[in-house]
Amino acid sequence: MKQILLFLSSIHLLAACTNNLEMLSDSEPKKLIVNALISADRTDNAIFLALSDYREPQLVKNGIIRLYINNICAETVSECVHRPNPYTSVYQNYYYPISSRFHTGDLVRIEVETTDGKYKAHAETRVPEPIEIVEADTLKSDYTLTDILEKLWVYQSTDLKIGLHIPSAASPGYYRVNIKNEYTCHLINRNTLQDSTTIHTYWGCSGYYDMALMDGKPGIPNSQDPGINFIPTINNYYNVFNEAYFTNGEYTMNIEGYSSFAIDNKLYKTTQITGKAIVIYYAISEEEYQYLRAANAYADHNNSNLLKTPVLFPGNIKGGAGIFAIENPAVTILPLKPIEMKDTAAAGSN
């Protein structure tokens, strides 16, 4: 696609140049950004607050959040927790913990304001009904072991067929899917000969061969993309879908779970690796569906490309921006093909 655009641009535009126009003015009023994607089955959820700003968003540490479930105040949170993590952004390291438990059909409302009263926002959502997983099969599973720079790299991909059923067809359903691959590795310390066990978690889910996940256009995996495709490949990074492809509330989804992790092959001898694929289907609100589609478009966006339309994020925060949504998961667990360890010093594959 890029080559096409370059080529057409060169014909079309003959010559183009880029110049500074002006410095962006700091004229936009600040908005309270409320971000929360809450899982209904957990009690350790988080709400992230920030203010939009000219150069960088500002953290909001003086926020007060009141959470109502079915019009009853369930909790009020005014403590901004700091959990340092060098691998995540500062905006993620400060959060407001939510401990309420949510049930299907609950009407959940939050009211957010800063203690100085300058910024206020509110949002409302309903806990969606979870989808039913009626069938789950492993179609194919391959793995590869590669020893690179004294590390044993484990790659595994698994094709899954998941039968889905929407219990209630009364309202349009929106969903997303993800696969958490959990591996238990039994190791022996080469120096001390002590046994140990490590657990590796890898989120990896692809729906390139599925009609619903590829918006009706399956079979153009990025890895096999000719690279000069005039019709851009559809990406669905967050694996959202709706019930448009369901027939009588039933649908069979083809997804691929994949994972990749490394073990210190110099220090440990790996004796056994067993894994399981935790397939999670989240029922989500329409607002979250639209929000994640926008996030998907944002991931593919390039501001300097004339052909790319700027992405506006929809949301449900009144008086501010962002998203407040509650996801209701349905889970199925499938064992992964065991990884046979022939000689961990030498890489192999199957």
Binding site: L14, T18, A46, Y87, Q92, F230, I231
Partner: protein, 889 residues
């Protein structure tokens, strides 16, 4: 004239008085009437009166206005004078009165019988027999006028009696004809090209376009202007000339897109010989498909649409092509920097059948091929073919067969080497898109007052893309195609029931076949045991068939000397997937001529559009998809009110001012964040929202139409915005349309420097259009287990990180843009024809106009470590000279 007539009458009266005075006193009363014997052979008035005077001794008295209608041939023997005079001047409209010894002759007005007769026929070029569209027919005695229709036919109903007609057409010598109208008359009028007027002369015509027509918001774009204007790469283009009209925005620099009075590009109805076209662009809009050599007439309607037009909201671009010279062979050959084109026309059967053939092809692919040795090998070419056959069966019947076919073809080949696996990977991609249009048209003069045109048309636009990737371990082919196909039948009638009424009526049927997209992917596996081949097929909505039918009628009529009106209506029907939409579209134009040079007009127009173009980009792409309305997505409708004043008091100049308000309903936009990749129509209804559009503006136009220097200057003050109340688009807040430019000025000039050189210039100024810019930064959250960007890792609390944030649509207004273009044509007569060198200079003073803006981050010198957002502008088309060579034979 008045004085002359007054003097004549005074003289006559004076003579009568004198004769009365003198004869009554000097001569006795005449009591006996003499007999006359006379023989006249093709005698004129003077000879006749002399012979009668000689035979009777009476003398004649008459004024200058008395003249014989035809010579007199008569033989009389001993007939009393009174009776003889009656016989001699019979059917000459001359009255006789004997007073004393004088015979007084007076011109008499023949009493009309009350009957009306119709003059009809075709106006043609005397040399080529090409019919002339929009030629002007003026009846001098009754001050009636009409013009030839798009098929060169005219009809005018007049009362019985003497008639004086003047036929005129731009660049042709006017023809005067006087005769007595006493029966319906069929005429084939031949006008001769006036060499003296070879410099650009543009006269006001009285067709449906122009100031003096009963319509408003209409323009005829003169071919001379199209051919002479400076052009990008010297590729003269119809659309670029239309962009210089008031109320028309051109979109991105250099492209042929039209945004008419705040409307989007898919709201323009492009007609090629009356048949709708869906894609009129080559090379992402760099050129239009209309080759100037094959074009005969271009009319642009922005409001006050004739009832026969429908199906789009904002404009009608009616392009008519040449019919072909019926007497002589001639043509042209043009060699340009990007394309070469040829044109030939001539008789197949002299005065009966003619042909036209035009073709164009680009050769960038051939030029760059030798220079690309390795890596990606791109190739691009375009071509057009226009062909037309025209046969005249007689004075009443004509048959036209025409064909257009045009294609853009783009391909890439790439071979790279996989050093890890020591294998070669081959990739190939080929994309082609274009239109094919076939038309059969039959013109028939049913009777003197009724003209009939029937058109059968086939039209297809197709986009096709094929990819193939081959490696040792993998092979896949991918094919995508989309398109739209129409079969159409149109029947139009022109009816002249009375001198003051011109009625048009007819019907139209279109059978659309939409193929929004079909996609096949085949992934071969070299090891069929391990992994079977996979075949994937996706077919959007599949093939959708729909039926669009319409009936229309309109009456152009006048009352009194000052009022004119055009009242019409169009009843349209669209049926798709079991849903039927109907719409009654009234059209009304009122015209009041305050003085001979000052006219006021007002109009109301209702338009309905049943198809939409799904476009995911700022630029018009061939992969954009046409889709019909559905049960959920209703037709777009526009109601336009306009009023204007027109002044022609200065000879050669015209001034007009027009204001308009256009309200659009059910206009579509993709929901926020829901813009799919281009060429994707699957569940498009779920991704769009219907809203309202509001467009208003005022347009001033000053045009010089005659003389060595012609051209126009116009200024437009306009505003256009959109509102989607559901909140899924721009949060439910009103936002400006992308090409909402508040002010725009266009100046265009053509000047004949001599017989061998002409020069042209155009200067445009437009205040900035809008763009969506991230004017602030906010935070984004992704779901658990998702991967973010750059340094972001997956966590158990989701992913939160800063992003550039667009708070609203079209929230930034670009600076104004302006551009000067110059063009020169150098003519030289050669032994067998004429050669023309064209030199065009685009953007003479290299204005760096912004076409696209985005944010980049620069180091802040004051705050170390901080970055400062700076708006970057992308400029296309800097100073760019070009030339072309044309040989006409």
């Amino acid at each position: 004239m008045i004085f002359s007539s007054f003097n004549t009458h005074c003289t006559l009266l004076f003579c009568l008085i004198l004769s009365g005075i003198f004869h009554s006193s000097a001569l006795p009363a005449q009591t006996t009437e003499p007999s006359v014997s006379i023989r006249l052979e093709q005698a004129g008035l003077k000879e006749t009166t002399c012979k009668i005077e000689k035979a009777t001794g009476y003398s004649f008295i008459y004024g200058e206005e008395v003249a014989l209608k035809h010579p007199i041939t008569i033989r009389l023997k001993n007939i009393p004078l009174q009776a003889a005079l009656k016989k001699i001047f019979a059917r000459q409209d001359i009255g006789c009165e004997i007073n004393k010894r004088h015979i007084i002759l007076k011109k008499t007005n023949r009493q009309p019988t009350g009957k009306n007769f119709t003059i009809n026929g075709y106006i043609q070029d005397a040399m080529s027999k090409e019919v002339l569209i929009g030629a002007h027919i003026q009846e001098q005695r009754h001050q009636q006028a009409t013009a030839t229709n798009p098929f060169g036919f005219f009809s005018m109903t007049l009362p019985e009696g003497d008639t004086e007609l003047v036929f005129s057409y731009v660049g042709y010598r006017p023809k005067h004809t006087a005769f007595r109208l006493n029966k319906d008359t069929l005429m084939i009028v031949l006008l001769r090209d006036d060499n003296a007027l070879k410099e650009i002369v543009i006269r006001p015509d009285k067709t449906e376009t122009g100031i003096q027509s009963s319509r408003m918001g209409t323009n005829n774009v003169p071919l001379a202007h199209i051919r002479n204007m400076p052009a990008l790469l010297s590729e003269t283009d119809v659309m670029k000339s239309i962009q210089l009209l008031p109320g028309v925005q051109g979109g991105i620099s250099g492209t042929s897109g039209l945004h008419v009075r705040g409307g989007s590009p898919d709201q323009n109805l492009y007609l090629l010989d009356g048949v709708p076209l869906y894609n009129i662009e080559h090379t992402l809009g760099l050129f239009s498909i209309f080759t100037p050599e094959s074009v005969k007439k271009v009319d642009v309607y922005k409001s006050s649409f004739p009832a026969r037009f429908g199906g789009r909201l904002s404009s009608v671009i009616d392009v008519r092509t040449n019919d072909g010279d019926m007497r002589h062979y001639h043509g042209s050959l043009t060699i340009g920097l990007l394309t070469s084109r040829m044109h030939a026309e001539g008789p197949i059967w002299k005065d009966r059948t003619s042909f036209v053939l035009s073709a164009r092809r680009s050769y960038a692919d051939l030029i760059i091929k030798p220079f690309i040795k390795s890596g990606i090998k791109p190739s691009y070419y375009l071509y057009d073919i226009n062909a037309k056959l025209n046969h005249r069966f007689g004075n009443r019947d004509r048959l036209f067969l025409s064909l257009y076919h045009g294609t853009d073809h783009l391909s890439f080949k790439n071979t790279d080497y996989d050093y890890t696996n020591r294998k070669e990977n081959k990739k190939r991609q080929a994309t082609a898109w274009g239109s094919t249009l076939g038309t059969m048209r039959w013109n028939h003069i049913v009777n003197e007052r009724l003209f009939h045109n029937i058109t059968v048309a086939y039209n297809r636009f197709r986009f096709d893309s094929k990819n193939r990737a081959t490696s040792e371990s993998h092979r896949s082919t991918h094919r995508y195609d989309s398109g739209i196909e129409d079969w159409g039948l149109t029947s139009d009638f022109d009816f002249h029931p009375s001198p003051s009424h011109f009625v048009r009526f007819g019907g139209n049927y279109l059978r659309h076949t939409f193929r929004p997209e079909t996609q096949h992917t085949l992934v071969y596996s070299p090891d069929g045991q391990k992994q079977p081949d996979k075949v994937y097929t996706a077919q959007g909505y599949g093939t959708i068939r729909s039926h669009e039918a319409s009936l229309y009628a309109e009456n152009d009529f006048g009352w009194g000397n000052r009022w004119n009106a055009n009242i019409g209506a169009r009843l349209s029907l669209f049926r798709v997937q079991g849903n039927t939409y109907t719409s009654l579209e009234p059209r009304l134009t009122l015209c009041f001529q305050a003085t001979p040079s000052l006219t006021f007009k007002a109009s109301y127009t209702h338009m309905t559009q049943y198809i939409h173009l799904l476009s995911s980009s700022n630029l018009s792409l061939p992969s954009d998809l046409w889709v019909p309305v559905t049960r959920k997505i209703r037709p777009m409708q526009a109601r336009q009110y306009s009023a204007g004043a027109y002044y022609t008091g200065i000879p050669g100049w015209e001034f007009s001012v027009e204001g308009y308000i256009k309200m659009i309903t059910n206009v579509l936009e993709y929901k926020d964040g829901n813009i799919p990749p281009t060429g994707n129509s699957i569940y498009w209804e779920e991704k769009v929202e219907m809203g309202k559009g509001r467009c208003l503006g005022i347009e001033f136009m000053l045009e010089k139409k005659t003389g060595r220097t012609t051209g126009w200057m116009n200024y437009t003050l306009a505003k256009s915005d959109r509102l989607f109340s559901t909140g899924t688009v721009n949060g439910g807040k009103r936002f400006p349309y992308q090409y909402d430019r508040r002010h725009s000025i266009n100046v265009t000039l053509n000047h004949r420097l001599g017989r061998k050189v002409d020069a042209s210039a155009s200067w445009t100024y437009a205040s900035g259009n809008t763009a969506t810019l991230p004017r602030e930064k906010a935070t984004l959250i992704l779901p658990e287990g998702s991967y973010g960007y750059e340094h972001m890792e997956n966590t158990n609390q989701g992913i939160v990180f800063p992003i550039e944030y667009n708070s609203s649509r079209n929230n930034y207004r670009l600076p104004a843009s302006h551009q000067l273009n110059l063009g020169f044509n150098f003519y030289k007569q050669t032994k067998h024809g004429e050669r023309i060198w064209n030199v065009s200079i685009i953007n003479v003073y290299n204005a760096l106009n912004p076409n696209h803006v985005f944010i980049d981050y620069h180091e802040d010198k004051q705050l170390e470590g901080k970055k400062i957002p700076v708006i970057q502008k992308v400029t296309f088309l800097p100073f760019l000279p070009s030339f072309s060579y044309t040989y006409k034979f």
